[in-house]
């Protein structure tokens, strides 16, 4: 269970949010929304431990995430604003490396399957469009369906309607918790919404 208590975030002398608390059970879906600069990305980075809050704490199954470190990292998938793929490598190589880094050792077939699901050509990422790059990054989710927590920062950006549908399906069928930030309501059932700003 993911729990955040009394989160206070200050960036560049500006308070983004204060006294924010949330608690997520397995299976929960949380949509974070709010205007640009309202702290959506900061909140997600705090939740995954990349950013420390000015005050407050995030706990995973009762333990603070700073003390869990890699143990917590193994439970989650975080896909940030940047697609986190290397331009010089192919989609297949990118996916394999990011999976191994996350402690999974996927088979060649499962990687190909994941890429096929998002319809990503196995070419150097440099030759792909923005939307295809985003798809190549999102294919990670197919390999980490058992990870109990997904933190997705603007996952629908640059995706076409078909890509959006595939991602929505993945999120809806995920058994664990999903926190994602977006401007448009993707229309996913049983979504809680957290409005920032």
């Amino acid at each position: 269970m993911l729990e955040a208590r009394g989160l206070h975030c200050e960036r560049g002398g500006r308070t983004l949010f204060r006294d924010l608390s949330l608690s997520l059970e397995s299976g929960a879906l949380l949509r974070v929304t709010g205007p640009n600069g309202s702290g959506k990305t900061s909140l997600l980075r705090i939740l995954c431990g990349l950013l420390s809050p000015s005050s407050g704490a995030v706990t995973w199954s009762g333990s603070p995430i700073e003390s869990l470190r890699e143990e917590y990292a193994r439970q989650l998938v975080y896909l940030g604003h940047a697609p986190a793929v290397k331009d010089d490598l192919t989609a297949h190589e990118n996916l394999r490396i990011s999976a191994v880094l996350a402690g999974i050792s996927p088979s060649k077939e499962s990687i190909q399957e994941a890429l096929a699901r998002f319809d990503v050509p196995d070419a150097p990422v440099r030759k792909l469009s923005q939307g295809q790059k985003r798809r190549a990054a999102l294919a990670r989710l197919c390999l980490s369906e058992s990870a109990p927590l997904w933190l997705l920062d603007e996952p629908f950006t640059a995706l076409d309607s078909k890509g959006t549908e595939i991602l929505k399906e993945l999120i809806a069928s995920h058994a664990g918790m999903v926190v994602f930030s977006t401007h448009q309501d993707p229309g996913l059932a049983a979504t809680r919404t957290l409005e920032l700003g």
Binding site: C48, G49, L50, L51, S52, R69, E70, A73, R74, L76, Y78, G80, H81, A82, P83, A84, V85, K86, D87, D88, L89, E93, R96, I97, S98, V100, L101, A102, G103, S105, P124
Partner: protein, 222 residues
């Protein structure tokens, strides 16, 4: 854990293979800098032999520095660094793997080509081995110290100059010991002492530098 180390080293080598120019630039820089000195101060053989260890070592320092900025910067820009921070292995292990790959790409080629440079300066053939050994022990230390500096200056404007100012003073002991080993050997006094000290520095840096680099990365990526 070992799978992650292997994967990270292979990743860096693969990336370098796709951008061969980057590796060639470093090596060429080393060759060009060392070739400028005889042109600048004249080709008097005895004088060249005298300055050779110092010149070669300073050139090695500078070429190692040249490639440091890219150590984390590209990964920071495309978001892959965040995935490393959230990886299943401790960040220090990832930094160690990246630093090892940096040495393979920026240090090892210098070691390999050093006999040729030594020949250019007319060093006695008996000294080629000492020079290569001193570089083989010293350049990994440069990569390790440099990784801390690269992590600290990550994302800063004008970080390149700051990195040089930060790291070069820390390179001084390596320079003194490395060049000293060759000088002592050419004076007939062996130079084992310097090489042993370089080895000790390498052992200490290999243990501590990756963790210091990891801590610095966490700070600068916030």
């Amino acid at each position: 854990m070992l799978a992650i180390v292997r994967c990270m080293v292979c990743r860096e080598l693969l990336l370098a293979a796709r951008r061969r120019g980057d590796v060639a630039t470093i090596l060429l820089f080393f060759v060009v800098v060392t070739s400028l000195f005889p042109l600048g101060i004249g080709a008097e053989p005895n004088r060249l032999r005298e300055i050779a260890p110092g010149v070669i070592w300073v050139a090695a320092l500078l070429s190692s520095l040249l490639s440091l900025k890219r150590l984390f910067e590209n990964d920071h820009a495309d978001g892959t660094l965040e995935q490393m921070l959230l990886g299943a292995a401790p960040l220090g292990v990832v930094v160690a793997a990246k630093t090892a790959a940096h040495w393979l790409l920026a240090g090892l080629p210098l070691v390999a080509i050093s006999p040729l440079i030594a020949l250019q300066y007319g060093l006695a053939p008996a000294l080629y081995g000492v020079l290569a050994l001193s570089l083989a022990l010293g350049t990994p230390v440069l990569s390790l110290i440099g990784a801390i500096g690269a992590a600290l200056t990550l994302g800063l404007r004008g970080g390149g100059v700051l990195l040089a100012l930060l790291v070069l003073p820390l390179y001084v002991p390596v320079l003194i010991l490395g060049a000293g080993a060759v000088e002592m050997a050419s004076a007939g006094a062996g130079g084992e002492g310097q090489l042993l000290l370089l080895g000790a520095m390498l052992a200490v840096a290999a243990v501590f530098a990756p963790w210091a680099g990891a801590a610095a990365l966490r700070i600068s990526s916030e």
